[in-house]
Symmetry: C2
Subunit: 339 residues, 2 copies
DNA sequence: ACAAGGTTTTGGAGCGTTCCAATTTTCCTG
DNA sequence: CAGGAAAATTGGAACGCTCCAAAACCTTGT
């Protein structure tokens, strides 16, 4: 209908025969209006196709309905291949909640924190979603000190807990993998993990150990460590095979690939001779031959929860920190197939 | 120094002993000021740590310095695993140019185009970067009709050319792969591609054919087609091996993995018995055993060019469409290693 | 010294919204 | 049916910036 230029609050007001403020209220506090007035205003909004102008709102309210996400350069081996799914989920959830995601190229982790402050000052970004919060990451402390709301995807593994987080229960993931392998009849189930000291890695190791204990299975001598690199993992796996492992639970798909290589060296086939399970369900997992059973993180849920927690904090800045721990799920494929 | 509240233009002006407008000019058209005035204003800006408030600028100028990027759910097999690198490059280039990237969850491709209009109306997004512009994608036409600036990563393969684009010369990529294989002594070099009809796929096929022709090598019978799925590719590859191929150039890493499987079925080893090259240099490529030679797209450059073209168009909306074609580079690994 | 012409600086309005305080209307209760 | 409190609505200012047009300031040339 309306063809030219922007429709403003005032135009809607004129059309509905009320003041601009009333239209604003119709949008922001509808319960202030008398039902019939509300109805009339809503019709005018509908008819004109009015949409509020975010910049004007931001200027007045100091809230942009923007969520900042610092995008880090993807380190080759890590969980990077899977982060695009998270990011999509984040964007979708934010959109659904009437917010949007502002992407920025995060400067080298935890340095140059001013970038966060600038986003708040310049754009009135409401809060941030952090990922890759490893040990020694100072972002949480810094943001808290500056009263900037945030949620982290990933727990804080050391030091004082700060702020809200959403995380995936890695232990539950490896536990499920062990459970699956036990059902298939395995007893000597090894764990191929990263060097101790990384919170995420230790968590995944703990899940394995606990599941082994629960089933009364020995874990001694069945744990090997390697950097997140197939070749290091290949070498480490050899030791596990020597120790008589019939199954290997790896802390990442990259490590699992190393296990594949170790098996190949001895003319063994994953899934037939020795079972292998990975972690992350990266795109590579289903492309491997045989397909790699892998623990998939519920990234859509993580994205949704991140948004939920962040918006919650925005609404109530002083409430106690909230934590959400989600359970991942094993995707069985041929690598643990026939036993 | 300054501790409380926001620093505004007016404060800076007061401090420098000039009018607010002059400070604005110092920022936006410095050449209007007398050098000594400029100096004085800049010092005041420095001293106060002033940063312009984007919402206020946006409200006045109708430009948000925001670039919209519609993030699509990643279809498993495609180039998705590599798009995070592009996105990071995009964000980095945008940031460097004083812009930012606004992420939104794009509704199913080329439907619900109103989402783009809304972003323009609500947020004053300056323009968009499109990806995954396949055949029949109506976004370009729609955006042009609505006078919304955009750049596409990806050419238009059919119909009238619309707007600016940046793309990677797929033909040059497969050509380079053939070149590499010829140097290694191969003569029966096959192409494993997607079914005809996709612009990208046909382009990659053309590069192979052209390189073969240039070297006087026969290509007849050496081309197979399969959907972008390892198993379909495995089957298709069998035919190529029967035709005596000693090397396979694949249109994607996913297809190349299918070739690996076909070789494994015959107890052949990629790189030793038959050479295999992929396309995209996805994370999986270097994890495969043996490592997969693959054509890597210069995604950082693509991101940078996208921003450059888009900003160019914003500055000069009526100029003729500009196109940038970048050359990818083969990353040789063991799969084409020994011959 | 003064007008003409250019360069540099300024005041005021306005972008579209929401805040705040004040005003009007409505609904009770006595 | 007056009086008062609660509910609903309104007018004006303000958020921080840039546009526009007008004013002040320099140079020159005569």
């Amino acid at each position: 209908m309306v063809s030219t230029g922007r429709v403003t609050l005032t135009m809607v007001a004129k059309r509905a025969g009320v003041s601009p403020q009333t239209v604003s209220n119709a949008l922001n506090s509808p319960d202030l209006l008398r039902p019939d007035t509300l109805e009339r205003v809503q019709q005018a909004i509908e008819a004109t196709g009015y949409r509020p102008h975010r910049a004007a709102q931001t200027l007045r309210t100091r809230s942009s309905k923007l969520i900042g996400y610092g995008f880090e350069p993807a380190p080759a081996g890590g969980t990077a291949p899977v982060m695009d799914r998270f990011l999509h989920a984040l964007a979708a959830s934010a959109d659904a909640a009437g917010h949007r995601v502002l992407l920025f190229a995060a400067p080298a982790a935890s340095s140059a924190l001013e970038a966060y402050q600038e986003l708040v000052d310049d754009y009135n970004v409401d809060g941030f979603v952090l990922t890759g919060t490893g040990r020694g990451d100072q972002r949480q402390a810094w943001l808290e000190r500056h009263d900037i709301p945030f949620v982290a995807f990933g727990r804080k593994w050391s030091g004082r807990q700060i702020g809200d987080w959403v995380d995936v229960d890695g232990g539950a993931g490896t536990d499920a993998a062990v459970e699956h392998l036990v059902e298939l009849g395995h007893r000597r189930i090894a764990f191929l993990g990263w060097p101790r000291g990384s919170g995420v890695g230790d968590d995944r190791a703990a899940g394995w150990r606990e599941a082994m204990r629960r089933h009364g299975l020995p874990s001694r001598g069945l744990r090997a460590e390697a950097a997140n690199d197939p070749d290091a993992a290949r070498i480490a796996t050899a030791g596990l095979l020597d120790a008589g492992a019939t199954a290997v639970v790896a802390a990442s798909d990259t490590l699992a690939i190393g296990a594949y290589r170790a098996l190949a060296e001895r003319d063994l086939t994953p899934g037939r001779d020795v079972a292998v399970a990975g972690f992350d369900d990266s795109p590579a997992a289903e492309l491997l031959t045989p397909g790699l059973s892998s623990v998939a993180q519920p990234l859509e849920d993580v994205g949704r929860e991140c948004v939920r927690l962040l918006l919650g904090r925005l609404a109530e800045p002083q409430r106690a920190p909230e934590h959400v721990l989600l359970t991942p799920q094993l995707k069985p494929r041929a690598s643990t197939g026939t036993c």
